[in-house]
Symmetry: C2
Subunit: 303 residues, 2 copies
């Protein structure tokens, strides 16, 4: 395919913005879920899943967006942390027996295996509320911008966003490539896109920049999911923190099942070229190198 | 007990603010859950539970609060409707097999019975997101006031609020009267309180008025729960829309199981006197008659 020439990383490890990741981890560690009432068993389950590790891709994207726009990344930390709480909530509910019925996540028993199904449902519910509460309580900036960012986040995670994507997934409505793309766009893509776009909105970036970042974030979501589907087939259990091949066992349509592994890899290459091209097309006032690093990391995960 | 003399309604039917209720129903009917993506089965489940009827006590309280503060009640309609979406989400999740495992709600099969457990979990999740999105998309007013109202709402519904109360309930931690009161304060009381307090915050009411309305709302939540527990024992299946005595079958601690029916009725009388006294102590610029009517309705439900 044609497109701007970009460096496609091979065996070279990609440098992830680990300082930003560490800052996210430190912030998440100190989030206080209000222990003035006797809910220790609930907050323990919330923290069990929230602090299970991971690259914190979504919050790091938000911080990196702030950096690229010339702001102190810390300016969007509450918003960034909220993304991880929401991601965690979605994983807990996706893993439930009535949903994907998964026992392992990030190498540990899933929340409902560790704490029971009822506590896991409530831990997910509470994480969603507490995520948004981080923003309403702590996100600085023009109130109108903060509301607009929450609105973007809710659209990305509601009925026509992440939850809707999960519904399409469980409803077994996915057969064609178009349906697969749409399901992933909702289930995974919208939260990744809003990690970038919502941070820009919270910071009051101009409409053109917000739209351009939205397009970049959307393509990055596509790339993320193609690589995820490839990894499910090619990754080891240890890499994945769960048994590989779980998509196939769940009978899920994936980029690999629909296109085959070779074509899925080509699609990943094409998507990464688009991601890089979209980033190149934006004039940043700040330093966009971490946005590039996260993009390269997402692309390079299957090497 | 001592306290201001108030009229305790006997057999006279209490006039509920039906015009406000009708306005809420009309608003809820036209809420658009974004059908641009193929999630009909999800939105159908959401609407099935949301539009199952009921008095719409929480939204009517919010509209009545605006009225009492001298505003057009319609000024808080998005916030009011959000309360009903959140209430519905909490009922759907409470009814799940892993939670209370209830088959009937408002005389109809519960959401998971009608649509499956997986769809019911997602319908609850989506209702919470869409509830808040009504506010971020449509609630007018000073942005800082709107954020503060959302913050109140999230505190009322998160880990140390409604979800925490449900956790305490399922964790079987309730034995003493104090624990019972706290569980109900979180599980039911906080959402009723924020129906009043949050509307005042959204409208930018002064701090003193907000605090006074918060105390009124908190006591109204207590009254609501005492009456609910009494009705579970004394009401007919048709009145309740579900089999009576379900608390006892679930082995739940209630005001009746902890205090006995007679003492629970006395507690309801005492609570209603406090509710009326708190209302009388607030100087309203507008018309507080509907706040009084809803209070009397809540108290009179067990007659």
């Amino acid at each position: 395919m044609s497109g701007p020439a970009v460096h496609l990383p091979g065996d070279t490890p990609v440098a992830f913005p680990d300082a930003k990741r560490a800052a996210v981890d430190a912030y998440l560690e100190q989030v206080d879920f209000d222990q003035s009432v006797p809910i220790d068993g609930l907050t323990e389950a919330m923290r069990y899943s929230l602090l299970a590790g991971g690259k914190r891709v979504r919050p790091v994207l938000a911080l990196s967006t702030a950096h690229a726009l010339g702001h102190d990344p810390a300016a969007v930390m509450p918003y960034a942390a909220a993304l991880e709480l929401i991601h965690t909530y979605s994983l807990i509910h996706d893993d439930l027996p009535a949903m994907d019925d998964d026992d392992l996540r990030r190498g540990k028993p899933t929340c409902h295996v560790a704490y029971g199904e009822n506590v896991a449902i409530l831990a997910g519910d509470a994480l969603f509320a507490e995520a948004l509460r981080l923003i309403t309580s702590f996100q600085s900036g023009e109130p109108a911008h903060v509301i607009a960012a929450i609105d973007e986040l809710l659209a990305a995670t509601g009925a026509a966003g992440m939850v809707g994507g999960q519904f399409i997934d469980i409803a077994d409505q996915v057969e064609t490539a178009e349906e697969l793309t749409q399901m992933h766009e909702l289930k995974t893509g919208r939260l990744i896109r809003v990690s970038v776009k919502g941070a820009a909105v919270a910071l009051g970036a101009d409409t053109g920049t917000v739209e351009n970042l939205g397009r970049f974030g959307a393509e990055l979501g596509v790339l993320f999911q193609i690589i995820d589907d490839i990894l499910d087939v090619t990754g080891s259990d240890a890499d994945l923190g769960k048994p590989s091949g779980s998509d196939e066992r769940h009978g899920k349509a994936t980029y690999v099942s629909v296109f085959g592994l070779d074509r899925a890899r080509e699609l990943a290459d094409e998507s990464y070229r688009k991601v890089c091209g979209l980033l190149d097309s934006i004039e940043f006032r700040g330093d966009a190198s971490d946005l590039r690093s996260v993009s390269a990391y997402i692309y390079g995960r299957d090497r």
